[in-house]
């Protein structure tokens, strides 16, 4: 494959048979591909499948909660167990298989080399390996699910246990004593973490070494800054989770007892280890989302991003500060008041860079020319949901109120606003934004907007009411609850159905675009990052010659052409008084 790359560089390659989707045929050409775009698409298939699975669990558990007492199963204990397994699998699948890999592995893989004007990521083989590690990790979770089904419905006792009922946090000593399939789940999470580390290594090396001429650090698209911050966290935090999970495996298999109080160990040490990874992991989820939003806001308001350096540095600040706040998950665990105070203060410090980002995005909208296309609708939804999720974090950083809210529905609502509301909105927005680039097909704008509104309403209906339930004292992870909380749960469950309908609409819109969508122009939105400089879908090797770039947020060189329903680059010198030393970009198409 590497020999065929020295195609003579001149001229834009636009032949239909040259794009990465059609240049090679057959299943082998996909499974053994080293092309970052194809790997990104393979990730897309499996990650969206796990999102569907996690969503199914969510709908099931919300249905169980529509009334107090058992709902889906008649017997109390079976219903409780069912619920406990559902919320655990929902959490574990969504966190380890969807949200953490979601944006970096799908959109990051597809877009990062294109944005760099590179032909691939730094280590294509490693990239394929992380995909297969993901598959192995996913297979462990599929086994966890299957074993649960086998145990419950077929009544066969498996030696390793069935299902998973520990909560995605695997707190000891519950996780070392329960009879469900904890070991396969731990190995699955470990393998997924390994996959995530290798992706991070790849991205850092790519961003350091493959930047094209002219792309200084502060000329990088903000999406790259965000992916860089994400990768730093992946590389630094995930190994600690890895060793923690391995110790837990040793604990269960051998009875090592480092975390088990009945063997002289310390269960709170596990929590420290676990959150040392898992809190930064929250930023693995949100940082790339912020990167997408920075791109969308700027492109769809046709205006240079406001406060570029502040947004870039705030990404790095969040990545680094995120390592210092893990203790705020343990305010009620009995750690000393001094530790609580320090972690509380550090936790507040993370809110500052997040606030800076929000204000800069708002300032970018100011005096723009705002085009309310579907991706921007999601970006605006992101800003609202992230603002709400971030602001409610203040209640949880403050010690006095956190004591009351810890492990109640308030927390559940808070992290769904930031992890699901924000990250998922950015993810969907990013998918809509790059869909034409990925497949060369346009989606239905009307249905895109309608479904965006449905998803937004459904989301808020589901989760806003949980803030109220939580402040009223409704504990989380409850299969059963006092009658006083019924109304909150019913509103929430109805909301979750609306949300599910909205997401199904999104899925159909994407599928419809694949089958029936009209052909997309190379640059439907007028973006100026390098991926819009090559055809849609991109050729196998992205760019036929090295790129030179200027300011990624300089849109005045692109003019809308109704003929192709997309933007074309205006040659010559349309930029009046250039604020930057002349972008001087090249490349046609």
């Amino acid at each position: 494959m590497s020999t065929g790359t020295t195609t003579t560089g001149a001229g834009a390659t636009t032949g239909a048979n040259d794009n990465y989707l059609t240049c090679d045929r057959g299943i082998r050409s996909w499974l053994l591909t080293l092309d970052h775009k194809r790997i990104g698409l393979m990730y897309m298939v499996v990650i969206l499948a796990s999102f569907f699975l996690g969503g199914l669990f969510a709908v099931l558990l919300r249905t169980e909660l529509i009334n107090p007492g058992p709902t889906l199963l008649a017997e109390e204990e079976r219903a409780w167990d069912f619920y406990n397994h559902m919320f655990t699998l929902h959490g574990a699948v969504m966190v380890f298989m969807f949200i953490i890999p979601g944006i970096p592995a799908i959109l990051g893989n597809f877009v990062l080399p294109l944005m760099l004007g590179a032909r691939d990521v730094a280590f294509p083989r490693l990239n394929l390996m992380s995909f297969y590690l993901w598959l192995i990790g996913g297979a462990f979770f599929v086994w966890v699910l299957l074993s649960g089904v086998i145990e419950v419905w077929l009544g066969i006792d498996l030696p390793g246990g069935g299902g998973l009922d520990t909560g995605w946090t695997f707190y000891t000593p519950y996780s070392t004593t329960t009879s469900s399939a904890v070991v396969p789940a731990l190995l699955g999470a470990f393998t997924l973490g390994f996959s995530s580390i290798l992706t991070g290594v790849n991205f850092i090396a790519s961003i350091h070494m493959l930047r094209p001429e002219g792309m200084r650090w502060f000329r990088m698209p903000l999406m790259l800054w965000a992916l860089y911050g994400t990768s730093v966290i992946q590389v630094l935090a995930t190994p600690v989770l890895g060793i923690t999970l391995l110790l837990l495996v040793a604990e269960r298999v051998l009875g090592v007892g480092i975390f088990d109080p009945s063997l002289g160990g310390d269960p709170v040490l596990f929590q420290h280890f676990f959150w040392f990874y898992s809190h930064p992991a929250v930023y693995i989820m949100i940082l790339p989302a912020m990167g997408i939003i920075s791109e969308l806001i700027s492109v769809f308001s046709r205006k240079h991003i406001f406060g570029y350096k502040f947004i870039a540095f705030s990404s790095i600040a969040i990545a680094l500060l995120g390592f210092l706040v893990w203790g705020h998950h343990m305010f009620t665990s009995g750690q000393s008041a001094l530790a609580n105070a320090i972690f509380s203060l550090l936790t507040f410090s993370v809110s500052i860079p997040s606030a800076i980002k929000v204000f800069n995005w708002l300032a970018t909208l100011y005096r723009g020319s705002i085009w309310l296309a579907t991706p921007l609708l999601y970006a605006l939804g992101f800003i609202l949901l992230f603002a709400l999720g971030g602001l409610t974090g203040l209640f949880l950083g403050a010690l006095a109120t956190d004591i009351h809210f810890h492990d109640t529905y308030f927390i559940v609502a808070h992290f769904h606003y930031v992890m699901m509301g924000s990250t998922l909105f950015a993810f969907i927005g990013g998918m809509y934004y790059w869909w034409p680039k990925m497949f060369g097909k346009m989606y239905s704008e009307l249905w895109g907007r309608i479904s965006a509104v449905v998803v937004f309403i459904g989301f808020n209906l589901t989760f806003f009411v949980q803030f109220v339930a939580g402040s009223q004292g409704m504990p989380r992870r409850y299969a059963n609850y006092a009658d006083a909380y019924t109304v909150y749960h019913q509103i929430s469950t109805i909301g979750s159905y609306v949300l599910a309908v909205g997401l199904v609409m999104v899925g159909f819109n994407w599928l419809h675009a694949l089958v029936r969508g009209r052909t997309a122009p190379a640059n439907p939105w007028g973006g100026n990052t390098l991926e819009w400089h090559c055809p849609s879908p991109p050729p196998h090797h992205n760019f036929s010659r090295p790129q030179r770039v200027g300011d990624p947020y300089e849109f005045r060189r692109w003019r809308f052409d109704p003929e192709i329903d997309g933007y074309v680059r205006v040659e010559g010198d349309p930029v009046a008084p250039a604020p930057e030393p002349a972008p001087a970009g090249t490349t046609d198409s």
Binding site: M1, T6, P212, E213, I243, G264, G334, S336, A337, R545
Partner: protein
Amino acid sequence: MTTGGASETGRPPHLAHHFESSSQQVETGKLGMWIFLSTEILMFGGLFCAYSVYRANHPDIFFYGHQYLDTMLGAVNTVVLIASSLTMAWAVRCAQLGKQRGLVGFLALTLVGGAGFMGIKAVEYTHKWHTGKWVGTANMYHPAKADGSMAPPKTEADPAGAEPAGPPSGAEAASQPFAPPPDRSQVLMPSTGPSGMVALEPSPALEPKAAEHVELEDLPPAERERVHIFFQIYFMMTGLHGLHVLIGMGLLAWLLVRAARGVFGPRYYAPVDCVGLYWHLVDLIWIFLFPLLYLIH
């Protein structure tokens, strides 16, 4: 990054399509390796962290446990591993200079060093297996395994000495005013108060003869059941390290085969370089493990 024209002609066979020059490719590979090594350090960092927490909270069991490690074998292993690091560095140098025989020879020597290390480790592990200090529930000090003489029975009323700072427990509780509920615990109770990590007050019995030999009886009663923790940490740390040595040996064998075929030379030695970095890291981790586990005072 700026050698734009080099891509047209004369691309060396090892240069992947997405790099513009060999030097860019080598630099990228090295950067990736360093990043990966930092993840390795953090992975071991978790274990070092667990070590520190337990060492700080239970210094006595670490002192007691370390007496069962063979310092001599550990020291020999340290020397073997440092020597293999030296030969590895030499192998890289030979690759850079194009000395084919030197490269193969030093790689082979490094591999032998790794094998020697694992051999000595195997001797140590076997000895521990035979003396009941194996990992997990097989450990003779493990509470789940221990008989009455090792671990005081927990649900009986203990003599006052067992829980020096704790409230009175056991059967007499019901008759005493202001007593806690009767002991129903299946778990160890902490030796000190409520907040923070469970910390043990230094035992007066140990202070005077800290540097000498310590018997199990010298340990505070509550600590006797935790002795196994030292061995668990020992096996986790050296086990993970040993796994890394084994992986390193696999990589060395792969390098050796390729080196024997003459793949490497002054223009292409990046794999030798990267495996070298990895090997040095494994060596470095052992240099921390040895004093922390074997040379406790």
